[in-house]
């Protein structure tokens, strides 16, 4: 009886890709199906066989001796989790996603994560998008910008003041350049061209100003310059540039220059009604009406 399962074991070792029931039968024709089943079960309970299913039926495969030696419960799971985190690169992965990928229960995951963290193999980084979410990544990786928010976020807080300061500095730089061009009294084409500054120039100026504790890239400066465009203070053109020219990206450069507003503040905003917060509620004969409007009274006595 005992020879049955030993022989099965040897068969499995002979065929590392796995054997079907048919193969065992061929090899040991004298074994009853029941005995065969008992042998397989014995091997399975010893943890030496993997039971797999393929298109033709059940497959019995020897477990890898290497991994079986390391396969001591949690260690293997740790390896799995570590693998998953490594795959996530520098974007990191959320604990729930690790659970989905590894099919391990949550408690196990948490234990493993704590373990790995103490071994200094992984670290947790708070994501700027959802402040409660923690993503895990390998210890020595730099977190990606989408997680930390890049240069504009320091510890989850958007640095509006910093952005404001940069905004003003960039605008002053472009404005003074435009003024210098205007005062030079050269031909209009030359004047306009010299009032332009490339994003690279602005970036260099800001770096030299030294107002930023963080290193800013040219892309960062371009986002700031874009906000100036949306403020209506600056306009941008793109020109083709030779590859290798300082500041060119993909054969083109972005040029920015300060512009003047096209109209003065329009007539209606110079009246109290144009700025009135209760404009909709104002009717002659109502509680709020032109006759008793306090905003008008203040404005008239100004």
């Amino acid at each position: 009886q005992t020879a049955g399962w030993v022989q099965c074991e040897e068969l499995c070792q002979q065929f590392p890709h796995g054997i079907t029931d048919q193969v065992i039968q061929n090899d040991m024709p004298h074994l009853e199906p029941q005995q065969r089943a008992m042998a397989i079960n014995k091997l399975l309970s010893l943890g030496q066989l993997d039971l797999l299913r393929n298109s033709s039926g059940l497959l019995y495969r020897m477990k890898d001796m290497q991994s079986t030696s390391k396969m001591k419960g949690s260690d293997n799971q740790e390896k799995l989790v570590y693998q998953i985190i490594e795959d996530a690169g520098n974007k990191g992965i959320w604990s729930r996603d690790i659970r989905f990928k590894s099919n391990l229960p949550l408690t196990e995951i948490n234990k493993i994560l704590k373990n790995l963290e103490s071994k200094k193999l992984i670290k947790a980084v708070k994501s700027v998008a959802a402040s409660k979410k923690k993503v895990y990544m390998l210890y020595n990786l730099q977190p990606d910008r989408s997680v930390t928010g890049g240069a504009w976020y320091s510890d989850q807080d958007f640095e509006s003041e910093f952005v404001e300061v940069l905004n003003q500095q960039c605008f002053k730089f472009l404005q003074s350049k435009a003024e210098a061009a205007r005062d030079s009294k050269q031909s209009p084409m030359v004047q306009r061209n010299s009032s332009f500054a490339t994003s690279h120039e602005v970036w260099k100026y800001i770096c030299e100003l030294g107002i930023s504790k963080v290193d800013l890239s040219m892309d960062d400066i371009e986002t700031i310059l874009n906000t100036l465009i949306y403020d209506g203070k600056v306009e941008m053109t793109v020109i083709a540039a030779k590859e290798g020219t300082v500041g060119s990206v993909d054969g083109q450069m972005k040029l920015y220059r300060g512009v003047n507003p096209v109209i003065q503040p329009t007539g209606v905003v110079r009246t109290p009604c144009g700025l009135c917060p209760v404009f909709e509620d104002c009717h002659e004969g109502g509680e709020i009406s032109p006759s008793n409007c306090i905003y008008m009274t203040e404005w008239l006595d100004f």
């Binding site: 209009p188 986002t223 949306y230 209606v268 144009g274």
Partner: protein, 549 residues
């Protein structure tokens, strides 16, 4: 014909023509075309007063009449429209423009015509000459020919036009000059007139100055005839002198003034954005295109750089290559005031009228958002104008505004209807978690909404002005009485003590109050004009988009 427009028209009619006309006018605005009987019945005003009000309205071109729609021969129906009445707000601007272009003479001609609605050339010339003479030194008077030449110039540049003759005007009684150009008295069944009022420009003689024999000089009215002023004014019309232009009545051509204002707006925008020289070039281009471009054209006819160079004012001595550079810069500017239409003649250039109006309207909207909600909301607004549709997160990222504040600002703008939300569902059931919500700004509907707000603002200002005057009515009447007493005392040579005694009848605080009142009324008046500038820009923009369709 929105409620705000009707309210504003009512106030304007009341100020210029009185309560009765205002009542009849607003009634017609609200109810559409009606015949005389219905008007009398619904307003409860007597036949006589209604007739007179309609006369006034027709005289000023605010009301048109046509034969009844029910059947030929049914009583004439009367119809008013808001547009013409809203022009009353702009009268000061028209008069001021005429003054800058044609001096005092032009100013007075336009003023007379605006006040009377329409007049013959001869009566205009005589009245204006009299008025000018009044202001001149003793012994000098204004010659009719000077005034006539100013009149002709106004006609040549199309600022004045002939009134279209009424088709059924044969029944006009030319012997009653008290109200010139009275159409058929409405009570009698009128001869069928054309159903649609013909435009003045459909008549070939629209801008032809008639041959008028006008020899003479202005008459100065002596001061003791002050009380007879009113009667004299009417007497001038009953003057039996004929000058060869009976039946030819002239009116102010508002459209032409509007084109002029539009050109001015474009020129000043170019001056603000670029520089003085560029604006002079654009001014030259617009001046050259004045007569060749139709009012609703999208852009002027192409002008060659050579022509522009020749037509530049001589004070601007810029060499030809520099002019080319300026033109290139104008074309390259993102506002696209000027476009290039070809290469012949050194480059063919056009002024993009509709695009310029759209840009000016957009700048107006941005200005309103900026003043009302702050520069960061204005940043979001401009961002949405540029990028059309954006999600909440994208708005925060592009505008570099923290999420909480950006959300707040977007919702405020949304509640004021300056920004709209577009839903794009991923699944047919519009589940909120599976729908894209995109913010967007639609320039045209927003401009229309702002225009209505402007109408309401002007109406508010007028009402406040009336209220302030009513509050201080007693004080005003007292000061008027005192002035009259003073004037009569001075005329009859009183002693200084008597004068001071009368003057002291107004106490110091009352004087202060009067002064404050005067300041308030002036401020409100000038505010009305300022809002009218915004109204003009927005109206031109809205009309330019409509004429395309």
């Amino acid at each position: 014909m929105t409620a705000q427009e009707v309210r504003l028209c009512g106030l304007l009619l009341q100020e210029h023509f009185g309560e009765v006309v205002a009542k009849v006018g607003t009634h017609l605005l609200k109810s559409g075309a009606q015949n005389l009987r219905t008007i009398i019945h619904e307003t409860g005003i007597s036949l006589d007063l209604v007739k007179k009000s309609l006369c006034v309205l027709v005289q000023h071109g605010t009301c048109v009449f046509s034969s009844g729609r029910k059947a030929p021969g049914s009583p004439t129906e009367y119809r008013t429209s808001c547009d013409r009445i809203l022009r009353i707000l702009r009268y000061p601007r028209y008069i001021y423009t005429a003054k800058t272009l044609y001096g005092d003479t032009g100013e007075l001609i336009i003023e007379e015509l605006l006040q009377r609605g329409d007049m013959t050339m001869s009566s205009t010339v005589k009245t204006v000459a009299d008025r000018l003479t009044q202001n001149m030194e003793e012994g000098r008077s204004m010659d009719y020919s000077e005034v006539s030449s100013a009149f002709s110039k106004l006609v040549e540049t199309h600022f004045l036009q002939r009134c279209p003759p009424m088709a059924g005007a044969g029944t006009k009684d030319s012997g009653t000059p008290a109200t010139p150009a009275t159409p058929a008295i409405p009570g009698t069944p009128a001869a069928p007139v054309s159903t649609a009022p013909p435009t003045p420009e459909s008549f070939p003689d629209c801008y032809r100055v008639p041959h008028v024999t006008l020899i003479g000089r202005g008459k100065r009215r002596l001061s003791n005839e002050d009380g007879e002023d009113q009667r004299n004014a009417k007497k001038t019309k009953m003057d039996s002198e004929t000058h060869g232009d009976e039946g030819i009545y002239w009116q102010v051509n508002f459209e032409r003034f509007h084109l002029h204002f539009r050109d001015q707006a474009i020129i000043s925008a170019v001056a603000n954005k670029l520089d003085q020289t560029s604006s002079e070039i654009v001014r030259t281009m617009l001046r050259m295109s004045e007569v060749t471009t139709s009012p609703t054209a999208t852009c002027t006819k192409p002008l060659s750089a050579n022509e522009i160079f020749r037509s530049l004012p001589s004070s601007y001595n810029i060499p030809r290559p520099i002019l080319d550079q300026y033109l290139t810069l104008l074309v390259d500017d993102p506002m696209e005031f000027v476009g290039k239409a070809g290469e012949s003649g050194g480059g063919m250039y056009v002024v993009n009228l509709h695009k310029a109006l759209a840009n000016l309207a957009r700048a107006t909207l941005e200005s309103v958002v900026q003043e009302r909600f702050g520069s960061r909301s204005a940043r979001i607004f401009r961002l949405l104008l540029r990028k059309r549709h954006l999600e909440q997160k994208q708005v925060e990222d592009f505008a570099m505004i923290p999420a909480k504040e950006a959300k707040d600002m977007l919702y405020t703008l949304l509640s004021q209807n300056l920004v709209q939300l577009q839903e794009i569902p991923k699944t047919p059931d519009y589940a909120p978690s599976r729908t894209f919500y995109l913010y967007t700004v639609n320039q045209l509907p927003t401009a229309r909404m702002l225009l209505q707000n402007c109408y309401k603002t002007v109406a508010n200002l007028i009402e406040r002005r009336l209220f302030e005057s009513k509050e201080s009515k007693r004080l005003l009447e007292k000061s008027q009485r005192i002035e009259a007493i003073l004037a009569s005392l001075q005329a009859s040579g009183a002693e200084p003590e008597q004068l001071t005694e009368v003057e002291e009848m107004i106490t110091a605080p009352e004087k202060q109050q009067l002064e404050a009142l005067r300041l308030h009324i002036n401020k409100l008046d000038s505010a009305e004009n300022q809002v009218d500038e915004t109204i003009f820009l927005l109206e031109s923009y809205v009309n330019s988009t409509m004429s395309v369709y």
